[in-house]
């Protein structure tokens, strides 16, 4: 009996094989036709391929959607190229390129990318890879189609991974909610599930509301109202986070100035250019690493930190020794001289690197964002906040716990007495200025992740930096910290109501009023040091 069955099975398989073969040829022909297809023809081919339902079309469609599908102009073959490996999209075999191969990308537009994602969702829902299943489930979320409910039920029954299961259930709930054939009870039951499906729940619910019957609209409205309330709370927290993140950028930019201007009293207009030089150092470091040690690319920012500190610190010492030391006690001349230096540095960089922006690639651990309850936190910003705080506390440590810090404070508080005690004041001046410049260089490394690397980079930050230092209280590091964070948060709370332009103006007006009341800023220095 068993042998009988087995024979039968073999016979059936043998019978099926040519059919599969026939489809295979069809697929191969369609894929090959992509080489010369226009956008409209491509759309038809994608629909045709998706209609076969054959898993063999998945690699070709995935590659097409990702922009990895190429046509060889010399042979007319369609190939997948990822990195340096070239494979055949249908058979998956490795392909050796001919010497005269001329690969040109098969290009797709947004609407085609959407079609491909929808087509792939159905075919990859049963894949072995959880990540593929998850993206398939998300594909169903984007294109709910009642015809897919049985497929989803089947997948949900077989699913073991909790995250994927949740995505599938969300997709099913949404599909039921949109399906006019389902009973009102089923659709109403789906509402809370959809409401709990994450950030886009409000979008999905409000778009489902348009063609829903009345009973359903009521429950959808209730769910939306609940979500909106939740969103208002998280929105406020999100704003605080945005503010902290902006504040940390201000802190980074200002903290070096808190040394050169706050502690030494040098009105240093070239401070922004130190930031800019730090950013260019990062660019050079990353370029060197990319060309010579591609494996270290993810760590290039970390390697750039000491490099930027040394480069800008050295330039800072040079500026202090060469120019600023002749101008102590003459603030107007210092202002003009450092402004001149800033122009010279800008034009030098422009002449060497050209006027266009340079590119620093974000390392993988700084790209993307994460959901923290209702907050969306981008990794890049998160690391900059952490980095700003580290720099701040390191600097505090240097000033309060090292001999150099002690000497710095001694010199700035009473130069003549410090000199009498045997402190080499010129050396300390140079070191202090170098330290402030070096920290500006560190800020430049961080700013490569959020701003343009152009010769004008520093100009965007110089005014803000002075604002922070003056607002926080000249000569007080804690004032700089509190000042930067206050300005950041205040800015972000004003922005939604007043707009970015007016928000900035309001902040300036508020600071002017504040300085009128407290000319020495938030944390005023007390005692005799103030008088000098």
């Amino acid at each position: 009996m068993l042998t009988h069955l087995r024979n039968l099975l073999v016979a059936v398989l043998l019978f099926l094989a040519p059919a599969a073969q026939a489809q295979q040829i069809d697929i191969a022909a369609s894929v090959a036709a992509m080489a010369e297809a226009s956008l409209k023809e491509l759309a038809t081919i994608v629909t045709d391929l998706a209609a076969t339902g054959d898993p063999a079309v998945v690699p070709a469609l995935t590659a097409l959607g990702d922009g990895d599908l190429y046509a060889d102009e010399t042979t007319g073959r369609v190939l997948i190229q990822r990195g340096s490996t070239v494979t055949d999209p249908v058979t998956g075999e490795h392909v050796e390129l001919g010497a005269d191969a001329d690969l040109s990308k098969i290009r797709v537009n947004n609407s085609l990318r959407r079609d491909i994602a929808a087509a792939l969702a159905g075919m990859t829902l049963m894949s072995d890879n959880p990540a593929t299943r998850l993206s398939a489930a998300n594909g169903f979320l984007a294109n709910p189609d009642p015809a897919n409910i049985p497929l989803l039920d089947e997948a949900i029954a077989a699913e073991t991974n909790a995250d994927v299961l949740r995505a599938m259930q969300n997709a099913r709930a949404l599909t039921v909610l949109r399906d006019s054939e389902s009973s009102i009870e089923d659709r109403q039951a789906a509402v809370p599930l959809v409401a709990g499906s994450g950030r886009n729940a409000i979008t999905i619910l409000s778009s489902s509301r348009t063609d829903a019957p009345e009973e359903l609209v009521a429950s959808i409205n209730a769910a939306i109202a609940g979500l909106e309330q939740e969103r208002a709370v998280w929105g406020a927290l999100q704003n605080v986070w945005f503010g902290v993140s902006l504040g940390s950028v201000l802190l980074l930019a200002a903290i070096g100035l808190a040394i050169t201007f706050g502690v030494m009293g040098v009105i240093n207009m070239a401070h922004g250019e130190m930031v800019m030089l730090g950013a260019y150092t990062t660019f050079i470091v990353q370029l060197t690493i990319r060309n010579n040690f591609p494996g270290l690319l993810d760590y290039s920012l970390l390697i750039a930190l000491p490099a930027a500190f040394l480069v800008t610190g050295t330039i800072g010492v040079g500026i202090e020794r060469g120019i600023i030391r002749w101008l102590y006690g003459r603030p107007l001349e210092t202002l003009l001289a450092t402004w001149g230096i800033s122009l010279i540095l800008q034009q030098t960089v422009r002449s060497i690197f050209g006027p266009t922006n340079q590119m620093v690639i974000a390392p993988t651990w700084m790209a993307g964002s994460t959901e923290f309850f209702g907050l969306s936190i981008t990794y890049g910003r998160f690391w900059i906040v952490i980095f700003a705080l580290i720099v701040f506390f390191m600097l505090l440590l240097v000033l309060n716990r090292t001999p150099l810090g002690l000497q710095m404070r001694a010199v700035t508080q009473n130069r003549r007495m410090a000199s009498s005690m045997g402190i080499r004041t010129p050396f300390v001046d140079a070191m202090t200025f170098g330290l402030g410049s070096g920290i500006a260089g560190l800020a430049g490394v961080a700013l490569t992740q959020i701003d343009n690397i152009s010769p004008n980079l520093g100009q965007n930050y110089i005014i803000d930096s002075f604002m922070v230092v003056v607002f926080g209280g000249v000569g007080n590091l804690w004032g700089t910290l509190v000042g930067a964070l206050t300005l950041g948060v205040a800015n972000k709370f004003l922005e939604p109501y007043a707009g970015a332009v007016l928000g900035k103006i309001l902040i300036l007006v508020l600071i002017i009023l504040f300085i009128q009341r407290r000319p020495r800023g938030l944390f005023a220095l007390k005692g005799r040091a103030v008088e000098q």
Binding site: S369, I450, D451, G499
Partner: protein, 434 residues
């Protein structure tokens, strides 16, 4: 004594250096036609304008190799306006009065154009302006070879409204806070309202120059786009601020398939400083793309790269505008057999020259030209893939038909009207445009 004079010489030189950055007569021949080049080679706008200066030098060199114009060699006179607009007016005056140039190619920003306009009018000289701008202007001495709003903004919005573009129903108009975005958005808003878009489906947002903290705005856009209607962003954000903007979009997970951004100021040159991965699929509307596959374009690109000595250098839309403007001027001078401003102004209207995308650019009576409108999607190699192209050339319209205060105005610099703001209702010239 020597010490003093040396010091004074140094001071004078330094001052001359700052005020008249660099007036460099490249060749000093007796009988040449002088061509002024008025671009920023330092300051904020240097990023975009330095390339245009090189483009002009390249075009002049090519023309000279062909024997010049009217049998005379062309001589470029380059000045640096240093992104300083009052200085631009001074240098324009110097070019015309002191250096005695016959024509000037220059400016990028609208504020630069507005500040040099009176000079060209007063001294009756010629300016070719190569950048897309907000319209609502036509001046006898200026030729606008860049796009007016109906040659860039309106077709881009039409594309997004179409089924191919994603049938967009909600619109974010985001721009930098100055004259070009403000006017363009005013026109676009009126156009969208006319098309039946509800007021609450339009969000307008302005940011300062060089804005780098986009967190709030991008999350607002995300929230605005999450109301169940297909949303798109029309961006008139200028130059530098674009990098952090697109980066924030990528970081907050907004993909081009969800909320596409169509930009009017992002071209190949700007993209060459980008990590384009997060940008793939976002759009730009221009009248020229480097990726356009025509023999003229291929020849232009290879000649340009030979001239500049690098195959990494890209070409972009304002470069094509200078190419067209320069060729039209050469043709007009040859037609008029003179470089006199009045003769050229009379001769140039109606002349045509091939553009780089396979069509003909014609100088219209309103001093704008005909252009094709191309919509491109950004690719990961920093080039654009053309997804839509107007079937016919679009004539540039000086006064927008969508704004009630300018709908009845026309510009026509030929007889008998000869006027930049002719009111078709009252049949008079100079009717209150503002």
């Amino acid at each position: 004594m020597t010490f003093f004079s040396a010091k004074r010489a140094l001071l004078t030189a330094a001052m001359a250096g700052t005020i008249v950055a660099s007036a460099v007569p490249v060749m000093a021949q007796d009988d040449t036609i002088k061509v002024g080049i008025l671009h920023s080679l330092s300051g904020t706008m240097a990023i975009s304008e330095t390339t245009l200066k090189d483009t002009m030098l390249f075009l002049i060199e090519q023309q000279n190799a062909k024997g010049g114009v009217l049998g005379k060699q062309l001589e470029p006179v380059v000045v640096d306006i240093a992104s300083d607009w009052p200085l631009a007016a001074e240098l324009a005056r110097q070019l015309i009065e002191v250096d005695d140039v016959d024509v000037v190619f220059g400016c990028w920003t609208s504020v630069c154009r507005k500040s040099v306009l009176p000079v060209f009018e007063e001294l009756n000289s010629l300016l070719f302006y190569p950048v897309q701008y907000e319209g609502e202007e036509s001046q006898r001495n200026v030729f606008y070879t860049g796009a007016s709003p109906n040659q860039q903004a309106i077709p881009a919005v039409d594309y997004l409204m179409s089924e191919d573009g994603g049938s967009v129903e909600r619109w974010v108009l985001a721009g930098t806070d100055y004259v070009y975005p403000q006017t363009t958005n005013k026109i676009l808003e009126q156009y969208l309202l006319d098309k039946g878009v509800a007021q609450e489906d339009i969000m307008i947002n302005y940011t300062p120059f060089g804005h780098s903290d986009w967190q709030t705005i991008v999350s607002d856009i995300k929230a605005f786009g999450s109301e169940g209607k297909k949303t798109a962003v029309v961006s008139t954000i200028n130059g530098d601020a674009n990098v952090p903007f697109y980066r924030e979009l990528g970081n907050q997970g907004i993909k081009a398939e969800d909320i596409p951004v169509v930009a009017f100021s992002v071209g190949e040159e700007e993209l060459s400083g980008f990590d384009t991965t997060p940008l793939v699929g976002h759009l730009a509307a221009w009248n020229y793309f480097m990726s356009v596959d025509t023999p003229e374009n291929e020849e232009f690109i290879s000649a340009w790269q030979d001239y500049i000595g690098s195959t990494d250098r890209v070409t972009n839309d304002p470069m094509e505008a200078h190419y067209i403007g320069f060729n039209l001027w050469v043709k007009a001078v040859e037609a008029a057999q003179s470089t006199e401003a009045d003769a050229v102004i009379d001769a140039i209207v109606g002349l045509e020259t091939p553009n780089l995308t396979g069509g003909m650019a014609t100088m219209l009576p309103n001093h704008h030209i005909t252009k094709p409108v191309l919509i491109g999607e950004i690719q990961d190699d920093g080039q654009f893939f053309v997804v839509s192209e107007t079937e016919e050339l679009v004539p540039g319209d000086a006064w927008s038909d969508y704004l009630p205060e300018s709908a009845m105005l026309e510009a026509d610099w030929t007889a008998p009207i000869n006027c930049g703001n002719y009111n078709t209702e009252t049949k008079t010239c100079g009717a209150a445009a503002q």
